[in-house]
């Protein structure tokens, strides 16, 4: 559908930096089956990032971008934090909101897009850290869910304020001692997935980003449900390896440990009845599409 939308003037094509040439030639826009397996094939899916080496957030960012079902018509709303260092590298429209305001900005944006482009699918995805989602922006986060705003909220939960040196956040686990929270957390981790469910979210998932397949499925589901039914929420564990004293290569294992049964990021999902119905319909259509593609391929090879 949309590689047609972006064309470089032919007379100036040769002077464009290579990432822009790649963007208009080989971006995954419009590819129905785009997903995490496309990572590494095009520069548009964050070829380079400016986060720390081995940062699980960089993995999460790539998986999410590759999984957006409609990237050319998606606007991402970010907030202050490490994510704001990656957004400049992202070939998807994005807004950097004032710290904590992301869900309020997304609410207005989603409504404005619906008025400005009636009949065209426009997705809005909020991507913010735990400080912006649960502490500073909790009011905006909850109010958008109460109002049943139709967009997806993704929280990168690293369980502290990593970007500013390790202060305590509401999503930090009880008893954790951070560099700038030496006394240790004295109360339990805020149970935002449960709060999201009670606040009206139709699709809620709490997990880590250790399994790209799962991240892809969850992100796609959340976007589809938000598009048709109402708010959705995903809480991804993206540990800050620096702030929890790990090395670059230890992020993946940290996530695997945190997702074991009874651990705080054991896979948790809540789907409303309306969302279940919608996702079943989408799954059936997808199955049909794959069967047709397989049949066509078999026909070509015959």
């Amino acid at each position: 559908m949309s590689l047609e939308r972006i064309k470089i003037a032919p007379e100036l094509y040769d002077i464009m930096p290579p990432e822009y040439q790649d963007l208009v030639q080989r971006a995954t826009y419009g590819k129905e089956s785009r997903g995490w397996k496309d990572i590494g094939t095009t520069k548009e899916l964050i070829e380079e990032h400016s986060l720390c080496a081995g940062c699980p957030e960089s993995m999460a960012f790539r998986y999410i971008l590759a999984s957006l079902p409609n990237p050319e018509d998606t606007v991402m709303v970010g907030s202050t934090g490490c994510t704001s260092l990656v957004f400049p590298h992202v070939a998807v429209h994005n807004i950097h909101s004032l710290f904590g305001n992301q869900n309020a900005v997304a609410s207005g944006l989603k409504r404005a897009l619906a008025l400005r482009f009636p009949g065209r699918i426009k997705d809005v995805v909020v991507l913010a850290g735990d400080g912006a989602t649960v502490d500073i922006g909790l009011d905006m986060t909850l109010q958008s869910w109460f109002r049943q705003e139709k967009f997806t909220t993704i929280c990168f939960d690293n369980e502290l304020y990593a970007n500013t040196g390790g202060q305590e956040s509401g999503l930090m686990q009880k008893g954790f001692v951070a560099k700038m929270a030496p006394v240790g957390k004295t109360f339990e981790k805020v149970r935002l997935p449960e709060i999201a469910r009670e606040s009206g979210c139709h699709y809620v998932v709490n997990c880590t980003v250790s399994k790209p397949n799962l991240v892809e499925k969850v992100v796609k589901n959340a976007v589809y449900v938000a598009r048709e039914i109402g708010p959705t929420y995903i809480q991804f564990y993206t540990p800050c390896i620096l702030e929890i004293g790990k090395n670059s290569m230890e992020g993946l294992q940290e996530m695997r440990d945190a997702e074991k049964p009874n651990e705080r990021f054991a896979y948790k999902e809540y789907v409303s009845d309306a969302a279940k119905e919608l996702l079943a319909e989408i799954a059936a259509k997808e199955k049909e599409r794959k069967a047709a593609a397989k049949k066509q391929l078999a026909g070509q090879n015959a």
Binding site: I6, K7, I8, A9, P10, E11, L12, I15, M16, P17, Y20, S50, L85, P88, H89
Partner: protein, 204 residues
């Protein structure tokens, strides 16, 4: 209207040069341009701009997104004209001069760095100018608010002579600014450069 005594001259002025508009510099009317803040007929500005390109050691054009991306027929025509202007500059300068055509593809604040050899970023245009030792540049197809930002930064931190080929009402913060830019106007500037070829050269 009272004329301002302030002159928009090549810098480096200082880190935070005042906005030229705040110093009383006004924009030209249709058919006019401004040089250092003084309103002049457009033909005069064509001549001065052409001379600037011919005298510069590294005359450079910075095309912005409005001409780099073929988003409508007018943009495509302007892109053609920009290329023609660049080729004309290349033909008309001496071998010691080094004309450049460096794009400003978008306005993202790129971290951790840009590659100043292949692009210019409005948030730190001085890096590209310093790196390539650019002494005269022309902005074309850059959205006004980003052009204003860049022109001020350039004036603050470099000695580069700035020309704005603006499609709207012009830029006070450029040392020389055209307004209502069209493909024809860009081609006309190329004609002026051809006409003045050999009359001026780079300073030693």
């Amino acid at each position: 209207m009272a004329t301002s005594s302030y002159k928009v001259l090549p810098g480096p002025e200082h880190f935070l040069p005042p906005a030229a508009a705040a110093m009383g510099i006004r924009l030209p009317n249709p058919g006019e341009a401004h040089i250092h803040g003084e309103i002049v007929p457009e033909e005069k500005a064509m001549e001065v701009a052409a001379k600037q390109f011919l005298m510069a050691k590294v005359p450079t054009i910075f095309p912005g997104p409005l001409v780099l991306w073929a988003w409508n027929e007018k943009a495509a025509q302007k892109a053609k004209a920009v290329r023609h202007l660049f080729e004309t500059i290349k033909e008309c300068v001496t071998p010691s001069q080094r004309p450049m055509l460096i794009p400003m593809p978008d306005y993202r604040p790129k971290y951790p760095k840009i590659n100043p050899e292949i692009e210019i970023n409005p948030n730190h245009p001085n890096l590209t100018i310093w790196h390539n030792k650019i002494d005269t540049c022309m902005f074309v197809g850059v959205h006004c608010h980003q052009a204003n930002l860049s022109l001020k930064i350039i004036r603050g931190g470099t000695s580069c002579y700035t020309i704005a080929m603006c499609a709207q009402a012009g830029h006070e913060d450029a040392m020389l600014s055209f307004r209502d830019a069209t493909a024809e106007k860009i081609l006309k500037l190329a004609e002026w450069i051809k006409k003045l070829k050999g009359t001026v050269g780079p300073s030693q």
